[in-house]
Amino acid sequence: MEYSLVLLLNGISFGLLLFMLSSGLTLVFSLMGVLNFAHAGFYMLGAYIGYEASLRINFWAGLVLAPLTVGGIGMAVEYFGLRKVHRYGHAAELLFTFGLAFLIDEATHLIWGRSAVNYAIPAALSGPLFSIGEAQFPIYRGFIILISVAMLVAIWMLLRMSRIGLIIRGALTHPNTISTLGHDLPWVHMLVFGIGAALAGLAGAVGGAAFVTEPGMAHALGPIVFVVVVIGGLGSLGGAFVAALLIGCIQTFAVVADFNLGGILPFLHWNGIESITVSRLAPVLPYFLMILLLVLRPQGLMGKRAL
């Protein structure tokens, strides 16, 4: 029983981390129509920069440096790369980000080697936050929740209460009008791409210490981010939030669901498939959900624009 609370909080913390990661992707897609394949690569760069900072300065410096650096890299990518490719259409932009993903992977291999690096949780944040009987909830997971919520509030305040947020929101729905009013639309694009990358970088700096920081992490987390964005609905930040929490909780609770497929679908009797437990399928359930949703409701849960 006490484990249920730990599991719920864990699902929420993982979901919020996923949201931090996918919010940048959704923002960029809403504004620029570009599905950025290199987004998970920004996550990985954020983790490695956080690791380097934690070695040379300390962990907290990494939390500031990682989003700033990765945001800067994102803005450079947009200015020197994406902007030039933009005139050739969406497919060209997609291919560009696809190639960029590989570049980031190889650059990481060259700079930091192929093994996992020891990006450790600082002593101040290790240990249990609270215990219920035998079950402990780690401080660091609580920290992830805190940072994610803080970032969420910051982004919301930026979009709703600042002038630049007003311009960004206008550019989301009426880009030509914004341009006519004299605002520099390409500059807005660069800023939003940079913000998206910075969010991914922050997620990396935070998540890289909790999970292993290694050169394959972009590959590992990339697909699930897309699943979150597609299930939430492309272009919807609220949808991404709901979808991320949903997937975080599904992945967490499915692991403890020890009942067989044969119990859910009694007619299933083929080659021993009925004895596969839901917990074995836990990591691939989000993909089932995505396929199901695309068949039944292609625009996602709260989607506003088609792919």
Binding site: V6, I121, P128, A135, G216, L221, V256, S279, R280
Partner: protein, 416 residues
């Protein structure tokens, strides 16, 4: 046109000049993943094989002065690419193929080597397997041309259970493994050996997770904690092992881990002091074994490369191959294989035997525990540190070569 011909001639001459020097060398092709996610493991294996070959060459080589040479081939971790590289090796006239990091690839290679050796009697190869531990390779899928230098799954599981069984306070065991042939076999094998040696132990959980897919192992750890298990047996490796351990530490898991692969490649570092005394590994080697004939080799390797010497089985495979070549007085695959099977050899930690019936090497096995090094207040046997982690290995149980032997079902078809 003229200058092109000149260029072609110069290039050809350069090749010809290089060729005679290496024609004398006996080449060994090592198929490993040198690119991709596990390239660090592949590179480490290459480094150990090269060191072993250097030692053999420094001691006079084989067959009166001929040198051994390692030819690294990148199989990119795929069976398809491995078959291409096998063809590449046989085209170059290489007669000795080494591979080990994947039983699926090993099985494909055994099949391909059998076919090659039947169809091309002039270009036969011997396949030395240094790490693929799936059971069929020395049972129903055995081959005269295949030799396994790593204890197979049942042997390793039996060693772990043998160590576990002595502790009467253990009543609940949890099994968690990767969802593929290794993990499935370990799970079945562990259940069988537990039933045989300690029928009073209850298996309170048996989980499989996909390889490399799970980032967040906290739900699995919570499940383990809820089950009340005192011991977790796992054969997970790579980042799965690291993530599992990190999640265990995050939730303050206080039980014993019985593992296959927690002794290297980042695992001891991820374990840290919180795990001292509670993590056990089954292996044919660790660097704090008492009365150890491999210590000088270990120290020399460490001095030369700066990393831990991990794989006694890499050392043994090269030394025993050299010995077989000398015994057969030939590099012909059939003769070397005949010399290698049944060979008894002093491995430096005890006598080892390449069992003729199934070509499975019988060697001493150790179950060791990770403890704080002696310099940091741990037991004095933990003298040498593992990869800068502050932890060192201490033998908790040793099995001699013949004690590790298990029956096999191989019906070996020998060439005449």
């Amino acid at each position: 046109m003229r200058s092109l011909l000149k260029l072609a001639f110069i290039v050809f001459a350069a090749f010809a000049a290089v060729l005679p020097a290496s024609a004398q060398n006996i080449r060994i092709a090592v198929l490993e993943g040198l690119s991709g996610p596990f390239a660090n493991v592949g590179e480490h294996w290459m480094s150990e094989f090269r060191f072993a070959v250097d030692q053999v060459n420094a001691n006079g080589g084989v067959l009166n002065g001929r040198k051994l040479e390692i030819v690294p081939l990148d199989n990119k971790g795929s069976a398809q690419e491995s078959l291409i590289q096998l063809r590449n090796a046989t085209n170059q006239g290489i007669q000795f193929i080494f591979q080990g990091t994947s039983s699926a690839i090993a099985a494909a290679l055994i099949d391909a080597v059998e076919k090659n050796n039947t169809r091309n009697p002039a270009a036969q190869v011997v396949f030395l397997n240094y790490s693929a531990i799936d059971m069929p390779l020395t049972n129903e899928g055995c081959s005269y041309w295949h030799f396994r230098f790593d204890a197979n799954i049942d042997m390793k599981v039996r060693a772990l259970i043998g160590e576990l069984a002595a502790d009467k306070s253990i009543k609940k065991v949890y099994l968690i493994n990767q969802d593929y042939s290794l993990g499935q076999t370990v799970s079945k094998s562990a259940a069988a050996f537990l039933k045989a040696e300690r029928p009073d132990i209850e298996i309170v959980g048996n989980d499989f997770h996909p390889i490399g897919q799970v980032k967040d192992f906290v739900p699995y750890i919570a499940k383990i904690q809820a089950s009340g298990a005192q011991v977790v047996i796992t054969s997970s490796w790579g980042n799965d092992m690291l993530n599992l351990i990190k999640a265990g530490n995050a939730l303050g898991l206080k039980l014993s881990w019985y593992t296959f692969y927690a002794g290297a490649f980042g695992a001891p570092t991820a374990l840290g002091d919180a795990s001292a005394g509670r993590v056990k590994v089954v292996s044919e080697y660790h660097n704090n074994i008492a009365s150890n004939g491999v210590a000088a080799w270990d120290a020399a390797y460490r001095a030369k490369t700066g990393s831990d010497f991990l794989f006694q089985r890499a050392r043994l495979s090269i030394l025993m191959l050299a010995s077989a070549i000398n015994k057969a007085k030939s590099t012909e695959a059939k003769e070397v294989a005949r010399a290698l099977e049944g060979m008894k050899f002093d491995g430096g930690l005890g006598m080892v035997e390449m069992r003729a019936g199934d070509h499975q090497l019988l060697q001493p096995l150790f179950v060791y525990t990770l403890e704080k090094t002696a310099a940091r207040g741990g037991p004095k046997e933990a003298a040498i540190e593992l990869e800068g982690s502050g932890l060192g290995s201490v033998t908790t149980k040793r099995f001699d070569a013949q004690q590790t032997a298990l029956p096999h079902s191989c019906v070996m078809k020998r060439p005449s």
